[in-house]
Amino acid sequence: MLSARDLSCRRGGRPLFAGIGFSVEPGQLLFVRGRNGCGKTTLLRAICGLTELESGHVYLNGEDIRKLDDSARADIVYVGHRDAVKDEFTPLENLAVHQGLRGERHDETRCLDTLEEVGLAGYEDVPVRFLSQGQRRRTALARLLLSSSPLWVLDEPLTALDTGAVDWLLDRLNKHLAQGGLAVTTSHQTFDGLHEANCLDLS
């Protein structure tokens, strides 16, 4: 489970948020809401352990997120605003690099299957710079399916996706939660058809 107590953050001498706390059980989704500039992305990055907060700690299964050992860090998969997709590489190569960085063995059939599922069949070998924004985003989201990480952290996952892809993502998210996974997400759009969404209002 994921929990946090008394998180606060200042940016540029201005308090961004303060006194944030939550707890997410397996099978639950935490939905972070708020207007632009209220610190949604910062909070999500803090949950991954990327950002250091002014006070407070985030715990994953009782361990401080900033002090996780290497294997525990593999329990988190993060798809951020900046989607970590290299323009020069093809979707397939991007996934291969991603697997390598996570210390997993490259599994080409699994990567191909995943790409087919996210709707990139036929584009596996086209460099990403020739693909559309939506297809690029799908390449990034394909990472979710490759790993068996229990915690998904998704920053604005619906950006640039068409309705078909949105439905697909929500479906996958539901499956992930049904299997006892955890997820934290933000979005401007409302998520329909998601069960057990805890909302956290930042503003």
Binding site: R10, G12, A18
Partner: protein, 269 residues
């Protein structure tokens, strides 16, 4: 928690620091002025002319303390940077930041007075003397630190970035000095070495000591004052700063009874 029990960390708390500086600075500045007067008098009127350089050597009483302070302040700044990086004490960052302009000024003064001294002694304002060159590089290190500081918008992460730079620079300082020394001996042809008489007249030495003391105290005073202003700026929202700026009147006494309300208002602004 345990840090509260260490007495010397008492002054890392912004409020205590402010009170300490408030008491210290007038004394430091006052003694600095006295020492400077004594040092300048000794340097100009008591110390005898140099047997080689005549009276031009007297600029040494500003040049040498400035050069020492330039180097010393950089190391001090790096020390505060390490404290800031390791123990995350904000005040250490404020101190490092406040030291930089003074250190740069001292280094610049050392170069400037060095050039003025060089004109009568070496016949030129600038030679690529080892010490001049490494002092120039030291000035660049200061400028880099201040430029990085000024460019990063977020004070918190900008402070840590600058601290890291100061640390890397400090590790490099001895290597730079050594390599410049080496570089200079390689090019013996143009070397003009500055050999002051090994035995210094006692009055010269006294003047040098007095001026060094004055310089040191001046640097301490101005740095502490700058740090104090910085602390007040950072803590502008805190209650103790408001009390300081507006002596308690009837109105602020009323808000003091309802601190929660004040803080809420603050959070929205």
């Amino acid at each position: 928690m345990s840090s509260r029990r260490i007495p010397w960390l008492t002054f890392a708390a912004p409020r205590n620091f402010h009170l300490l500086v408030q008491v210290l600075v007038p004394w430091l500045a006052g003694v600095a002025v006295l020492l400077a007067i004594a040092g300048l008098y000794t340097g100009f009127f008591v110390a005898p002319p140099d047997y080689q350089q005549g009276n031009s050597y007297r600029i040494m009483f500003i040049h040498v303390p400035a050069a020492w302070m330039g180097m010393f302040l950089y190391l001090l700044m790096a020390m505060y940077a390490v404290i800031h990086l390791v123990w995350r004490i904000r005040l250490a960052d404020v101190m490092a930041r406040s030291l930089a302009p003074t250190g740069a000024l001292m280094t610049f003064m050392a170069l400037w007075t060095g050039a003025l001294w060089g004109a009568p002694t070496w016949g030129t304002y600038w030679v690529w003397d080892a010490r001049l060159t490494s002092t120039l590089i030291l000035l660049f290190l200061y400028l880099g630190y201040m430029a990085l500081r000024a460019t990063v918008d977020d004070r918190e992460s900008g402070g840590r970035a600058a601290s890291l730079l100061a640390l890397v620079g400090a590790i490099n300082v001895p290597i730079i000095y050594f390599s410049v020394e080496w570089w200079h001996t390689l090019h013996q042809g143009m070397s003009v070495t500055l050999t002051s008489a090994p035995t210094m007249a006692p009055s010269m030495f006294a003047a040098l000591l007095l001026m060094t003391g004055a310089c040191w105290l001046y640097c301490a005073a101005i740095t502490l004052r700058r740090a104090q202003v910085q602390v007040l700026e950072d803590e502008a929202d805190a209650q103790w700063v408001r009390d300081l700026l507006q002596p308690p009147t009837a109105e602020s006494a009323r808000t003091a009874e309802d601190p929660a309300g004040t803080i809420r208002e603050e959070g929205h602004s």
